[in-house]
Symmetry: D3
Subunit: 337 residues, 6 copies
């Protein structure tokens, strides 16, 4: 089973020891991105993964490709042009203090400036069974949007399994009106088999109504996701619900598959590095679909993957399948020997 | 609004990764001190700050001044003489294990040996609206004590707002009797507009009586602080009360302003680096006074600043005003983007 | 009071910042091992300690001996031969994610290949009052087993206090049958004065029966340990019981001394580095025996030492006796100055 | 004597241990730039320095300003807007291998997008005695070019000492024709009192002819610089000549002051970090002009500063005046105590 | 053009800052080996490379494979078994002090214990145009020797270009007699098209006679290599000659191709990290053969690659083809921008 | 052969990567000192060594003792009192830039304040065959001076071999007149068997005349050292002469033994870390005396040890005897395997 993702590779710069930028003279360097993260997780589960992206044609772009390969992702469809990569600083949070992300210029990146002519989409579609498209690529720039649409349409036509992640970032869409945004999703969704998102994506971005008689968070989700699934003929819709477990932060995973709808028990989360946990969840869902697990097992696995990814450094999930499964069954102790 | 603080700049050496000194061959190097910490916080809130101190006339002293400037504090009133700086090792705590501070020689430092003739106090007083004096400077050595007294008196006479922090360290006063210690505070306090301290400073250092009928911690503080405020004509008295919030450590801030007295709700604290959190609280109080906030808002802001400073590396608080305010309103999530 | 331990010195390689091996290009290097850990703790309590072991005759072996000395352990009985040292990677855990230990070849090490002819056991026995033998040495290889037996027998005959720690690792005994394993312990135990272990060592390794009428964990331990103590004439049997304290992990220590049996209250543990905490407990028990403390004080001290060792980096316990005692009395605050 | 420089602050990311980008997961973080470098050196000589620039209005921009202050440069004229900072990776060279600089996007930076309306040039001119303008700012973008011209003209009119550094980067001017480039310099030069450059700037950028009868490098420089000085009424022209000293790399400094022309003896250079050494030379020349040293002393001092700056990490020169002077007199041994 | 190499992947542990093992508590972690190094260089030149090897089936083996991929080498033919990897410490040299390599157990590694049944040699041969076999694999253990022979024979029969590197390590062959060693090479060489080695390999390992009338190093090499080439029908024989260039260390490359024989001029070398430079040379020779360069260009390129690899950290060469070429033409300055 | 040294243990703080103090937020931590350095070298040669000193009674003092043990030096005669340790920053030099040492307070250290009553000199003398006294201890403070005199006298009387190193630091003796300084040496020297120093110690500190007819450096040394040896009945006098070897720094060792006088050939030195190289030389001389080598072999060995110690990080020499010997015979290549 081969999975291809179209998305941006970004550079992440992280001060060590929970320091702020102004406190440090060293940084941790990594390359990641929503698509990379999801593929990283799938590669660590043992699947064959490939990223479709554009990197700068310099030492930084080549180093980024090296990291991608190290994560277990194939780099054969990466193109090289320009001289810039989207980058951000992550000041890691601790306890009461949230992590803080500071983006530097993202639009002028090699990826942000890439267009249809930079990609051989037919080859890309032919090479994979599952095609994943990140919502950030859809909304980043005109060029990447056209690639996202064309890729989704070609893949859908070719009968490939298409996965889309809303991943909506208001900060990247300050100048686009609500209707315009909605139109983009309306164009994308009919091509999709699996969509990753949350209740707000459905109600606020594409204006699905909340049934007036419902107040319970889960019941609303159950109802709205059914409408969503039917309206756009999307076989799977999955995501997470954040909340509290006693005094701790907590998370529940959910998955709608056609008429089925399942929400996991709450899992307490302890956060070391919050970024990329949604991508870990998405990868877990895809694993369940590939393996044809039940929705229950799929959601428990995906949620476990998300929970464990809160505890690892870096955005890209790295946990092996057997560890995720053991965790989901409550079988892990303090030390694995 | 310009704030000047008189106090020691110290060198802090911290083993990384929660290691003990004997485990490490690298150290984190920083320069801080109670006055520096308070000014750092105020500078990060956007105020104009200056430190009045003495540093060694060598590469270490110059590096210390560089750090001071980097924190946003002006170094124009720093003098240079001698060859030593007070320094300490901090072995960071974790969970059940407390942090451990090991001081090396502190008295032989350039600051510890500085005297009235090293400072132009008239210029210092003239240059600022608020003058902060650290109780450590008062009790460190004969020379710094005379500077502290002279500065407080000149500032008070000049109508400047004088702030004093008890910061009493028994280890620095092993050879001074109780009455002698009390006399120093009796000489200092009448010059002060804001005093930072706790109930024990009032009852144990300057012997204010605890009303016999009171047992509740807050009620005692309310009563004794009123006596204190009236006796020494101190407009503001502020500090924190440590305790538990469920299974977690907790903290409450309080502020007496004339007849008003307010104690915040308990805030749970998770500790990464405990040192400097009291200075963060003091800075928050000063910010509230500068901004003419209500006592409630002032205390919530100051306590929030203290709570957040438990989560950052290093002694010197670095959190921006808008983040402290958002935290005090409960508006921060897991990630700020 | 002189303590000698026979056991392996291993090299531990730890990625920093809770990273996994694949994420790091730097490692923390340390040398430790069950015997080294116990002696390290005793040395930090102020006792005279010596390790009996074999190290490679190269730069790595010499560096390992340097670390041993730095911990406060005498290296005069260390022999040098061969070129390999047992080593393992530790990927530190965080929150929900367990630590993971990956051993590289352990049998081909200088220690694993050492035999009776590499040690002067008479000299070793004569030089110490207490002889500690690690169960890993007993089960690692034929050569180290013969040394373990000979050392125990000689020490016992010479009237020395013999301490044995089960430390059973199934992964090192995949090819040995249950009866064979049991035979080894049956040969070792009659020479011992103190045995460190848990209920499963007694019931699963040496087949002591669980009284049919008992279900409470502590009552079973009380009963089985009495049988154990009598059957093998072992004066002391000690260990820990893991469990939960509210939402946190917890630990209780126990000690049987002849007819006496004591179990401590549960201590909540927060884990920074889990490895070596059992050795810290054992060292605490030995300290109590040396100091002739009551079983209650001994167990509280040993458990406190174990709890605190969960919070320090590295396997080898480093906490001073006065800190352990203050912790056991609940006297430690956030910062020791 | 107050010196103001207009120029870009850049972020420099350097892999440690002479590694390449692809080899490292940590980076050294610094902020510098040609103007910052020159001011850093002057600040370390004891002069009052200020940078005029624009930084991003985020955590990165604030950290950059902190570094600027730490170097001893005043940040009061820094403006904040946008979200990007010019940045580059430096892979340090070793022996036969050159250092390699990889720029990421530089034009979209807060500085690159700044325009006349972002600066109060009258205030800037009024606040300083010497105004330095970096040629990179002149050629970077339309906005910064207009600022550079306006600043030079205002300063010149106000009778301030204007310093200009060619610092020509072909890579930033790929699309500008030779004549256009020349026109910019023709507009700038008449406002300048000191120009920093080399023979190729005079002959290739502004087309001064090389006298046909001359072949010796120094004689050509002597002749052409005289024409240059007279043509544009530039009082001082200074720069360096690179070459070999035996088997080592070497450098000579030169200075034309009106009719005087002096070239230093060759200094052997050993390179640790090559970047910023030209700025160190320029700072040394300015120091000599401020101190009214002879051209000989000025050039020896400036060259010494350049030579020593080859040996320090980072772009920004940090050597104290007394060390530079001792070096220029050959008085430094192996260790300064 | 696809290149496959059969060889060991080793773990290298390097103390930072030129420290000795006993001085450090951190290490640099890398994975390399003679085959990996050669492929790394070829991958950085843009060729398609694959390693054929066996790694441990654990976190260390998976991390090693990640590094291999990051270097640009395909890992599809890597097998996983066992739990050990060959490893060594490198204490880097400086000036007069040589680097020192300390090997830990190498024979018990997953590779050292691998045998014919662990590899699909037919697939391996079919997948590549050039097959490289490292002499260490030939001499390490019986299993790897049989693989080396079988691979060479199959590749030769299949008409593939076979490359062999003597890489003779006396320390791995202490127990094998001279004749036995010679027999192995006699069996290997007839299958080879390119052999990497030095004069001593020819005269001491396989006993080719030195013509009595020759004393000049180069003339001896010319003569003996001709005999070698003819005797074993080896089309190419290449290697380096170390010596002095003035006061510096120096190196010359040579290549015999049939009747042609060329020795480069001496290149001065400055050493940062000596290991892997021979592999860089070999990769350069292969590049020349692939590109059908003249022997002169090939040797200059290969020597340049070797010289530059003395200046980079780590064993695996990383220099791009255009940089090597520019260096061989003397076109590199101090900084590449 | 047991060697005891009386001297100060200092803390050294070194910025990494050749950075200056102001550039770094991390430091390398080490403990050393002239006596520690000499003993470290002797311990690495295989001799039994013990330091006699006083350390602070806190975590820093205990860590210092751990380092001493790690170096292979016995710590049994170390006393603990007070809270301060002498410390200095070392900014490492590079090429043309010298290293720079910045001392913080040294007099107020536990050692600086130690007196006769802190040491059991009879036990110390009885425990060793060779007693080494550092000139810094002699001149540091009244207390350490009295210990130095008493130790020398007791050792001399007991027939032990007494070694003294001038190690004169003008900065520690600014207030003592020339005659007073000379008197101290006059009191010390008659007790000594080996003195380490240079020509200036003899001519400037104790006023031995330079024969008027001599101008050659070596001839002067030969003549003056003979007078010195006879006047004070000192059997051995040894030291080094610094100079140039071609374009490189160089060093020659010398040794006078009674009537014999030998000066080595010049050795080129490449400097990584200059500090402690004199102590390495002294240790080499002691090794030669212990082993009863010829003066020629002794000086070549000692000079080689000094030369190699220029190439290692840190003050304390760490090179093994066989490596020093191989270097002195010119047998070391680029890599030791």
């Amino acid at each position: 089973m081969k999975i291809l993702a179209f998305g941006e590779v970004m550079m992440r710069l992280t001060p060590p020891h929970y320091k702020l930028i102004e406190q440090t003279d060293t940084l941790d360097l990594a390359f990641n991105g929503s698509g990379v993260n999801m593929l990283s997780s799938l590669a660590h589960f043992g699947y064959d993964t490939t990223i479709l992206t554009t990197l700068p044609a310099n030492q930084v772009g080549r180093a980024a490709a090296g990291t991608v390969r190290k994560l277990g992702i194939k780099d054969e469809l990466i193109g090289y042009r320009g001289d810039h990569i989207g980058l951000y600083f992550l000041e890691m949070g601790f306890g009461n203090r949230p992590a803080e992300v500071t983006y530097l210029n993202r639009l002028a990146s090699s990826f942000g400036e890439s267009t249809l002519s930079d990609y051989d989409l037919d080859q890309a579609v032919a090479s994979a069974d599952i095609i994943h498209i990140c919502g950030i690529a859809l909304m980043l720039a005109e060029g990447t949007r056209e690639v996202a649409f064309a890729l989704a349409e070609k893949a859908h036509k070719a009968g490939k399994f298409v996965c889309f992640d809303f991943n909506y970032r208001p900060s990247l869409n300050k100048e686009n009106g609500h209707e315009w945004v909605k139109d983009q999703f309306h164009r994308m969704l009919p091509n999709c088999d699996l969509v990753i998102g949350g209740i707000r994506d459905l109600t606020e971005l594409i204006d699905l109504p909340v049934p007036a008689n419902l107040t319970d968070e889960v019941e609303i989700l159950r109802a709205v996701s059914q409408v969503f699934s039917e309206k756009f003929d999307v076989a799977y819709f999955a995501g997470t619900i954040r909340g509290q477990v006693g005094e701790q932060r907590g998370i529940r995973g959910f998955l709608r598959h056609q008429a089925e709808f399942f929400v996991s028990r709450p899992f307490a989360v302890e956060i070391y590095d919050r970024i990329g946990t949604g991508d870990a969840y998405a990868a877990g869902i895809l694993a369940g679909i590939i393996e044809k697990w039940t929705v229950e097992k799929t959601v428990d696995f995906a949620t476990s993957n998300g929970v464990l990814t809160h505890t690892t450094f870096g955005d890209s999930p790295l946990i092996r399948k057997e560890i995720v499964e053991a965790f989901s069954r409550g079988e892990l102790g303090d030390v694995i020997r």
